[in-house]
Amino acid sequence: MSAIILETRSLTRTFGAVVAARELNVRIAQGEIVGVIGSNGAGKTTFINMVTGYLPPSSGDILFDGNSVLGRKPRDITRMGMARSFQVAQLFPKLTVMENAMVSLVAAEGTQPSFLRPLDTPQRRERANAIFEEFGVSRYRDAFVSTVPQGTRKLVDIAMALVSRPRMLLLDEPTSGVSSEEKFALMDTVMSVVRQYGVTVLFVEHDMEIVARYVTRIIAFYSGEIIADGPPRSVLGDARVQEFVIGRDLNVDSAVGESA
């Protein structure tokens, strides 16, 4: 059992009367690829938002590498090595894909951006191109983000999160809004990259086939609580999960088999 990279201790968040997260205790070890499942409003995104410092928890603690990140700003947590992607790709629509990448490269350099030296340098172009290769989006390099297809935006979004070579990556529904033809291709690309970088991944996903295929462990949320946590087979087999989360009888063996 390798070192714990992310741990939450009885993490709780309430919005008025609504409890979006109740007493969440999660421990994720280095190198794990964890899927978080749960119906809408189960508290998955709230969990990610809290962990990345976007939402302050009502109570509880979050430890990244053993240090509490409570009260830190998202940018600090990012600099500590925890990056995230978004349910709706968060990009710079009026900039080109290349420029989007370069901005994230500048950010990843750790120093404050220079106000005289140009953003567009051969070195950054080179690195950006390499990344585009990895994610197979090279042909959109010079297109304005607002004009590229949904799937590509998702990829660019994730690529930008990975530019800083984080040690942990949180993916918020990577395949939402992506056609079912594209989604496996997309996940294959992403997963090959993260495996190659050796990034610990936690991703929220609706699509059980996706989850079952790529993860080593599943955490199931239901109305702000964790109702199951463990290897895909056992969690997907869990009766309450089947009832509350999946809502239909999924063929566990076939689903899990593919990923093994």
């Binding site: 940018r75 990012t78 951006p113 140009p118």
Partner: protein, 319 residues
């Protein structure tokens, strides 16, 4: 080393050339035109400050604050500190504006959209009020700025005006070069990214507010320089420099020129000055209306400003 190495982009030699053309004009163009251009170029520097904020998604309705501080910095320094040298005066004015920006930028850059516009407006109106109250500084009459010396040399009459014109052209050229580099620099592009999506910038590990703050200070700095040059050229300063309609005029010119390129505000300012002086001459009773209609026409038919006439090849930043 070769020129190509020396210049970051082909725009730079072109800018130098344009500056040279303007400078050469000093000996051929009528005096009134030289004076008009002096004020226009000085104004363009302030507008440049508005423009870089627009590129970061913020519209300042109080840029006159720094225009005024720059002007009063120059005026007070020559009046009470006995500083006579144009360069020293401009430096003082610019520094004063920059210090002011450092003092209030941290607060202002927490705000966006209308709130930013309103707060900047409020700040400049507070300065206006203070100046109007201080009869020692001539209240609304302001006071005159005595003609400066240039590194010990004190030109007279036409020579003075020409020197001031050349100084302004020089300053404008230098600033244009610097800001052209800034606009394509890492920080310059990141401020655009902030306009596009603050959350993403934050999650890339950068502080949007810090970017905007740097941008704000830079804008204040150049606006202060513009104010200082105006004070030297017109030889007079008064609180109207800080009133909100003055800021409105700067925004007007920014829209007129567009935000697409460093030269856009310069085109905007020159066109505006020419347009206004002829509007006043041909229609002394309805020149405001003329300006208003022009502005509307621009927004409706030329939303990216005059610059889009020069450069139609890409969708452009809008306020």
């Amino acid at each position: 080393m070769s020129l190509r190495k020396f210049f970051a982009s082909p725009t730079e030699p072109a800018l130098l050339l344009a500056a040279a053309v303007f400078a050469a004009g000093a000996w051929v163009m009528p005096a009134w035109l030289a004076f008009l251009l002096t004020l226009a170029l000085a104004k363009a520097l302030v507008v440049l400050g508005v423009v870089i904020q627009m590129r970061a998604g913020l519209v300042s309705f109080g840029q006159a604050l720094f225009y005024c501080i720059g002007g009063y910095g120059v005026g007070l320094a020559s009046q009470y500190l006995g500083v006579g040298d144009a360069f020293a005066l401009l430096a003082l004015g610019t520094v004063a504006a920059t210090l002011m920006a450092l003092a209030c930028g941290w607060l202002l850059t927490r705000y966006r959209e209308i709130f930013y516009a309103m707060l900047t407006l409020a700040l400049s109106m507070i300065l206006y009020g203070v100046l109007v109250k201080s009869s020692a500084l001539g209240s609304t009459d302001g006071f005159n700025v005595s003609p400066p010396s240039f590194l010990g040399w004190v030109p007279e009459g036409d020579a003075r005006k020409r020197t001031l014109y050349l100084l302004t052209v020089f300053a404008a050229g230098a600033v244009a070069l610097g800001f052209h580099r800034f606009m394509v620099s890492s920080l310059g592009r990141v401020t655009e990214a902030v306009r596009e999506n603050e959350i993403r910038v934050e999650y890339l590990g950068l502080s949007p507010q810090r970017m905007l703050f740097a941008n704000y200070v830079l804008a204040a700095c150049v606006s202060g320089l513009g104010g200082g040059l105006t004070a030297l050229a017109s030889g007079h300063i008064d609180p109207d420099m800080a009133i909100w309609t003055t800021s409105g005029e700067f925004v007007f010119i920014a829209i007129l020129g567009g935000t697409g390129h460093v030269v856009a505000p310069f085109i905007g300012a020159i066109v505006f000055s020419v347009l206004r002086t002829f509007a006043i001459q041909e229609a002394p009773n309805t020149w405001q209306m003329t300006l208003g209609i022009t502005l509307l026409a621009l927004i409706l038919f030329l939303p990216k400003g005059l610059w889009s006439l020069v450069d139609r090849s890409k969708p452009e930043v809008s306020a």
